[in-house]
């Protein structure tokens, strides 16, 4: 393939992925305007997407629903502003609320085939007592009910966009502030405040009349708001020992807006898929080029989160699920450089593609959020958490290589050169993972001694990290002392990853106990059990097939 064709092909992929997410509307001028939401000052584009996602479970309106929402653009920002001016009443028949659990639908008497329902369809839920639901169904019922009650009470979404006069860290709802009968409750000087109020009133009138001037009026108000925000940029609003929080700069707001708009996860997933295919068909140079692009996009994603949150991106399941495949690719590349074996790249590229597609398909919390006080230590987040979570990447790589080895073992009666090289790769990946996990766990012990006053206390997260180390040590000792063969090591890489996956996911989402409570969450249990069953099935089937050979 000619390089020009490759570049054109890649550009086409980029445009194809990016275009649908850049949905513009009349209110696009507000995209970078700061707004306070869930304790963070964010660009309005981010707030609109999160506001919509909470209800609709997507960051933009689906094309099929545009007519039902009476919208010209699928942009969340447009829906947010229109609802702000015209109230929820405007969309009381639009399918805004996402309900997935069939038990919840049955309890309300909804159509089981549909997933999104309007305010009117759910009105009966408000008066009905809580039905006898359990687990995730009950959670969904309570979540939707709470949201409906809040939306009905508020009548329209609040937009906390105006810093208060005395405490600029407290931001006022724009409608509330402009209804204060002439008084200026904001941080802005009176002249600017008057100008903002007039612009807001003009915009509201244009929206109510459905005038073509909406875009222009929105531009005037957004410009005034951005000018008013300039004196606050980078100014600290909270200072304490070891903790300072500042208002974001315009550049940070711009980057955060782009972060939400650009489908970086999809883009890197598509490139990883392409790289996997190219490497699989021995197009090594092309495969390496595409893999390098995928890795750059993946790195950009992580860098954006680091820059915006001012901390390493490893404080929740979504962030670790991005970081783990990234680290696997890094390890795969290092192994390729030192051992000259492209199997490590193929495995790393394949697993990253699978992971990123999985992240996009399943409902992870993508939001950029604040962290718990116990994690207020960049030093320990970088040393302990990055190392421990990074080790999962190495173990994941070893497990994928282990699967590859076992499949080859099934189809070949004698050990081939590829199988020998795979054994080396598995062993080295496990070594890297173990080095990082043990070192990271020890550093975690030192952090625990600094934070909780003790080095080790068999907290479930500590216990499972210890058990994971034990599982790998058993296989490594057995392999090094010739008690098991490469086959055993490959099985060990899979069994070890099952233990590592429980340390990563199971402790927080299944056990849900211990001192690492800031990472607890819910959801995905059935998928995880499915993964365990699939692995058990794979190992047993393989064993049976080998015996029957």
């Amino acid at each position: 393939m000619k390089p020009q064709n490759l570049i054109l092909g890649l550009l086409f992929i980029c445009l194809y992925c990016i275009t649908p997410s850049l949905c513009y509307g009349d209110f696009n001028a507000f995209a970078d305007t700061p707004v306070l939401y869930k304790g963070r000052y964010r660009p309005m584009e981010a707030y609109a997407r999160l506001w919509l996602y909470e209800r609709y479970h997507q960051q933009a309106i689906a094309p099929n629903d545009l007519a039902a929402f009476k919208l010209r653009s699928s942009a969340a920002l447009e829906l947010l502003w229109l609802t702000h001016f015209l109230g929820y009443q405007r969309i009381e028949n639009s399918p805004l609320y996402w309900i997935s659990h069939s038990d919840v639908k049955k309890a309300i008497g909804l159509d089981l085939q549909k997933d999104r329902f309007s305010l009117n369809e759910l009105a009966s839920m408000l008066k009905a007592p809580t039905p006898e639901l359990e687990g995730t169904a009950l959670e969904e019922w309570l979540r939707v009910k709470q949201m409906l009650e809040s939306d009905i009470r508020m009548e329209a979404p609040t937009l906390d966009m105006l810093p208060a006069k005395i405490h600029p860290e407290q931001w006022l709802d724009i409608r509330y502030a402009f209804q204060q009968g002439g008084k200026n409750p904001t941080f802005f000087h009176d002249e600017l405040f008057e100008h903002m109020r007039d612009s807001y009133i003009a915009l509201a009138a244009a929206v109510k009349e459905d005038s073509p001037e909406v875009r222009q009026k929105a531009l005037i108000l957004s410009h005034a708001l951005q000018i008013g925000y300039i004196p606050l940029e980078n100014v600290p609003y909270l200072r304490a020992i070891g903790k300072t929080l500042s208002f974001p700069s315009s550049f940070q707001l711009y980057i955060e807006r782009l972060y939400y708009q650009l489908p970086l996860i999809w883009l890197s997933a598509v490139f990883y898929i392409l790289a996997t295919a190219l490497l699989l068909f021995s197009l090594t140079r092309l495969g390496l080029t595409v893999l390098a692009i995928a890795f750059m996009v993946h790195s950009l994603l992580l860098t954006c989160r680091c820059y915006l949150l001012q901390r390493p991106p490893v404080s929740n399941m979504f962030e670790t699920a991005i970081y783990v495949p990234w680290f696997a690719v890094l390890i795969g590349t290092l192994l390729f450089i030192f051992l000259k074996n492209r199997s490590s790249l193929l495995a790393a590229s394949f697993l990253s593609a699978c992971f990123l597609v999985f992240i996009e398909i399943f409902p992870f919390n993508h939001a950029l959020d604040n962290i718990a006080p116990v994690l207020n230590s960049h030093y320990w987040l970088v040393t302990h958490v990055l190392m421990v979570v990074g080790s999962y990447g190495a173990f994941l790589l070893a497990a994928v290589l282990g699967h590859g080895y076992l499949l080859l073992h099934r189809s070949h009666k004698h050990t081939t050169q590829l199988m020998t090289s795979l054994t080396t790769l598995i062993e080295q990946s496990i070594y890297i993972g173990l080095t990082m996990l043990i070192t990271g766990t020890i550093l975690g012990g030192v952090w625990a001694a600094e934070s909780w006053g003790r080095f080790w206390d068999w907290d479930p997260k500590e216990s499972w990290a210890f058990a994971t180390v034990c599982v790998y040590l058993v296989f490594i000792h057995a392999f090094r002392c010739h008690k098991i063969t490469s086959f055993g090591l490959a099985v060990g890489s899979i069994v070890g990853f099952i233990a590592a996956s429980f340390t990563w996911y199971g402790v927080n989402y299944i056990l849900g106990t211990g001192l690492h409570s800031y990472g607890f969450g819910q959801g995905g249990e059935s998928l995880y059990y499915g993964f365990l069953v699939a692995e058990a099935f794979f190992l047993i089937t393989l064993q049976v097939l080998i015996k029957c050979r």
């Binding site: 869930k38 929080l245 080095t435 479930p460 058993v474 106990t513 211990g514």
Partner: protein, 326 residues
């Protein structure tokens, strides 16, 4: 004496290491599952990590690593990573063992405006009776017998948690075991789940008209702590805390010095004699009660000469092992 050499090689061998690692891993995993099901860390610890079989495992690990290292004698250059790794492990294990025997771990509650020097030893528990009941205080049974009888009663009660238990049957059972109790091993409080504790204590309290409670042991610290101010900072317009901070006065009873200090989460106060005070929780004033804080207090005599150096040596050893295979 011929068996000693094979035993030495077995104890320092890979097979024994694999057995030990496997048993330990299974035990630890079981502990986490028990903790998750019962909601009690102490209950899980009593059956697993805190139990004597686990301490025995740690000692066997110690022996295995020691013998595995000694088996390499005379040491050669290529043994260095192995020796460093296993020396680090030995030091870490040694540190854990020293801490478990000589360390102090507890918590203390400080209320704004008042002093306190009483450390509550979190991992200890004692049965406390506020009753003058004749049976519980009769002179013909020893303290140990009385305690054990109560524990046995708890066992019986726990079989009848749903309420279908016969009080007379219970009383005659306790009297019966009083006579043989010296032969029975005492049970630990942690062998029961919190729910079982509550139900059994309630039953026994009703039966003997006694107020039976579990209370952890306490220890008087050589420091008087005085809470001046406790502060929780929140992220803007949310109830999500972003920072905890407490201003305290710490008076050393031995030197007579008084120190004003601020502790925050992730910023521990460490005293010259190794006592460490970590701010764990702040409870803000509510319903007339003042602000209060919970401090985790800890003293690990092995930390600086065994645990931390062991951790560094182990890490170095693993890096060398990875870099240069023995």
């Amino acid at each position: 004496m011929k068996f000693l050499i094979p035993a030495y090689h077995f104890l320092g061998g890979a097979v024994f290491a694999i057995i030990l690692i496997t048993v330990t891993a299974v035990g630890v995993i079981a502990g986490t599952i028990i903790e998750s099901k019962t909601g009690s860390h102490h209950f899980a610890a009593a059956w697993t990590y805190g139990n004597n079989w686990f301490i025995l495992l740690l000692w066997l690990f110690f022996l295995n690593i020691l013998f595995a290292t000694l088996r390499r004698w005379p040491f050669r250059k290529h043994h260095i990573p192995f020796i460093i790794t296993h020396l680090g492990l030995l030091m870490l294990l040694g540190g854990c063992l020293v801490k478990s025997y000589f360390g102090i771990q507890g918590h203390m509650l400080l209320v704004k405006g008042s002093d306190n020097n009483l450390l509550i030893l979190t991992d200890s528990v004692a049965l406390n009776s506020e009753s003058q009941d004749k049976l519980l205080n009769s002179s013909w049974v020893s303290d140990r017998a009385r305690q054990t009888a109560l524990w046995m009663a708890l066992v019986l009660c726990n079989k009848n948690l749903d309420g279908n238990f016969d009080a007379k049957e219970m009383e005659s059972f306790i009297l019966l075991i009083y006579n043989v109790v010296e032969l029975l091993p005492p049970l630990s409080a942690s062998h029961f789940t919190p729910r079982q504790h509550a139900a059994a204590l309630l039953t026994l309290s009703r039966l003997y008209d006694a107020n039976l409670t579990y209370q952890p042991h306490t220890l008087q610290l050589p420091y008087q702590l005085h809470l001046e101010e406790a502060m929780i900072l929140h992220y803007p317009e949310t109830s999500q805390p972003c920072h905890f901070e407490a201003d305290m006065l710490v008076a050393d009873d031995r030197t007579g010095s008084v120190m004003k200090t601020t502790v925050t989460m992730n910023n521990v106060l460490e005293m010259w004699d190794g006592y460490r005070f970590y701010l764990s929780e702040i409870t803000k004033a509510r319903n007339g009660s003042p602000d209060s804080i919970t401090l985790i207090v800890n003293r690990d005599p092995a930390k600086y000469f065994l645990t931390y150096p062991g951790a560094i040596i182990l890490t170095l050893g693993i890096l060398l092992l990875f870099w240069k295979r023995p």
